[in-house]
């Protein structure tokens, strides 16, 4: 199968490969997929407790080129984002950016899942839920209106 240039670039020069301390209270870890399905993604974020901004992100992925590229891209996008904005990353954004063909859409879904799991893990460590991220969403919309 032919890969897009962007997928190949991420495969050849993956951004942010690495491992963070799972036990660190500022670190959130998401592991999704299963070896027998041919994909396992691990995404980690490090959050600045003062500002609530993601300062660093790392990944390791077992999977096809598209899975590697999706997770590599996700770490790039996560850095510098607030938790709220990180939760807004959609798999369709990844599909578009990497020009993934239909048979590889599941790789982007997996990456979105991994982001959610990492956020959840971080929030849990701080006694919060995912819903708490979006408590003020409607107020913003009202303000805009």
């Amino acid at each position: 199968m032919a890969y897009s240039e962007k997928v190949i670039d991420h495969y050849e020069n993956p951004r942010n490969i690495g491992t963070m301390d799972k036990a660190d209270p500022n670190v959130g870890t998401g592991v999704v997929g299963a070896p027998e399905c041919g994909d396992v993604m691990r995404l980690q974020i490090k959050v600045n407790p003062e500002t609530g901004v993601i300062e660093d992100a790392k990944f390791k992925t077992f999977g096809c080129g598209s899975a590697i590229a999706s997770s590599s891209l996700a770490t790039e996008w996560l850095k510098g984002k607030s938790l709220h904005d990180a939760d807004e990353i959609k798999n369709t954004d990844i599909v578009q950016e990497l020009a993934l063909p239909p048979v590889k859409i599941h790789c982007s879904v997996l990456a979105e899942d991994a982001i959610k799991h990492a956020l959840e893990d971080y929030l849990e460590k701080h006694g919060k839920t995912m819903e708490s991220l979006h408590e003020h969403d409607h107020e913003h919309e009202d303000a805009k209106a």
Partner: protein, 411 residues
């Protein structure tokens, strides 16, 4: 010298034609274009002479007479003719067929069809070394067994089944009249390894030209004529060619090419075996000495000299294929085929999914060079290392975590 890329290491899928084979074929496209069944003129005689000579060339390679060769379009057809032909002809005598789970589809599917029609089939499973032994076949024999069909060498692994031992065992246990017929799909074997249907007790043997530096679309079925005489119901009816077993105007050019390919194979087999075995060893040692997790699948020594199937656990097959796209190989990876299933052949060895998911078959051939092997080693090692650095599974294994103990999410 610069390498020509991509490097072809997929000789179990098909081989390039030997230029000497092409030279032998060329006159039969133009001057000697006749129909070998035309009995009344020179054109027909010339074509028939070419076909008859090819029968002798095949006979010399596998130890049979020219009357025992039925030309076909390749091994798929040969297997179909052998399996269905025996079932139909001997179905009154018995209802039981023995084969193995990791045969080529060209055997599995005809047998499955017979099973649907009411035949009783024993599907032998290999040990983890991939080999079907005479003992396993003996254990499955019944009074109503009419056919044993076991491939000689496996196309994915290169492993060699105990065909001569099976042939001997069948002869020892039965009178000539009651003996189940032994068919072997020798597509990957003939032309590479010494074959003697008399000595090895084979009754039916399938082979294909394009696996032995001949043209595509031509092959043969060897059909034993004496002790015992094997009879087959044809699957293609028509003009009565090939003693009624396979009608249709003969593919004269292809047949001439197959004959030449057999002649060359016979002459060069000894030296080629040695050369390929050295190359295989070089490749296997080059890879496994630098990648401790790499596993060679199938029996360590009972394998074709030019074939090796290596698994790279903890890295995923498709990403590896993408990384080594300068090397034309075949992969047992799930993602490269339409289905999500890893190779049924590797699963038959009892390998876990993560091993079966990332295996590569390297098939070396007549024109492969040491330089190409060295390039392949370097490319594979570098990219597997790169993928291991990215693999969360490899990291867990390094930390001493048993991957089977983890509850993975469904997905």
């Amino acid at each position: 010298m610069s390498l020509k890329l991509p490097i072809y290491l997929d000789h179990n899928a098909t081989t390039p034609m030997d230029p000497r084979v092409l030279d032998a074929m060329l006159p039969y496209f133009t001057e000697k274009f006749g129909n070998s069944a035309s009995r009344n003129h020179q054109y027909g005689w010339d074509a028939e002479e070419g076909v008859d000579y090819a029968r002798e060339q095949v006979g010399n390679l596998i130890g049979c007479t020219s009357k025992e060769i039925v030309w076909t379009s390749g091994s798929t057809e040969s297997n179909n003719l052998a399996i269905k032909g025996v079932a139909d002809m001997y179905g009154k005598k018995g209802n039981h067929i023995i084969t193995a789970v990791h045969e080529h589809k060209a055997t599995l599917d005809p047998v499955k069809r017979l099973q649907k029609q009411g035949f009783d089939v024993t599907w032998l499973e290999p040990n983890s070394d991939g080999i079907i032994t005479a003992e396993a076949v003996e254990g499955a024999l019944r009074d109503d067994t009419i056919l044993v069909t076991i491939m000689w060498a496996n196309n994915e692994l290169g492993t060699i089944n105990e065909i001569p031992e099976i042939g001997k065992m069948l002869k020892e246990k039965h009178s000539e009249k009651d003996k189940p017929i032994l068919h072997t799909d020798a597509t990957q074997w003939v032309g590479k390894m010494p074959t003697d249907v008399e000595r090895d007790g084979v009754d039916l043997l399938s082979a294909s030209a394009h696996k032995m530096y001949g043209p595509k679309g031509v092959g043969f079925l060897y059909v034993r004529r004496r002790r015992p005489r094997v009879r087959l119901t044809p699957i293609i009816d028509g003009g009565g060619h090939e003693r009624g077993m396979r009608s249709g105007t003969l593919n004269v050019t292809g047949i001439v090419g197959m004959g030449k390919a057999c002649e060359i194979a016979g002459q060069e087999m000894d030296s080629e075996q040695g050369r390929l075995l050295k190359m295989r060893t070089r490749l296997e040692e080059g890879i496994t000495s630098k990648l401790e997790m790499a596993v060679i699948n199938g029996h360590p020594t009972k394998r074709l000299p030019g074939t090796t199937n290596i698994s790279f656990p903890y890295v995923e097959g498709e990403s590896l294929m993408m990384a080594i796209k300068e090397i034309a190989v075949s992969s047992g990876s799930a993602c490269t085929s339409a289905s999500l299933e890893p190779s049924y052949v590797l699963k038959a060895l009892g390998l876990g999914d993560e091993i079966a998911h990332s295996s590569i078959r390297f098939g070396m051939g007549r024109f492969t060079t040491d330089e190409e092997i060295d390039y392949t080693i370097e490319k594979v090692v570098k990219n597997v290392q790169h993928l291991l650095d990215m693999s969360p599974l490899w990291e867990m294994v390094q930390e001493g975590i048993d991957l089977d103990s983890i509850e993975w999410g469904a997905h």
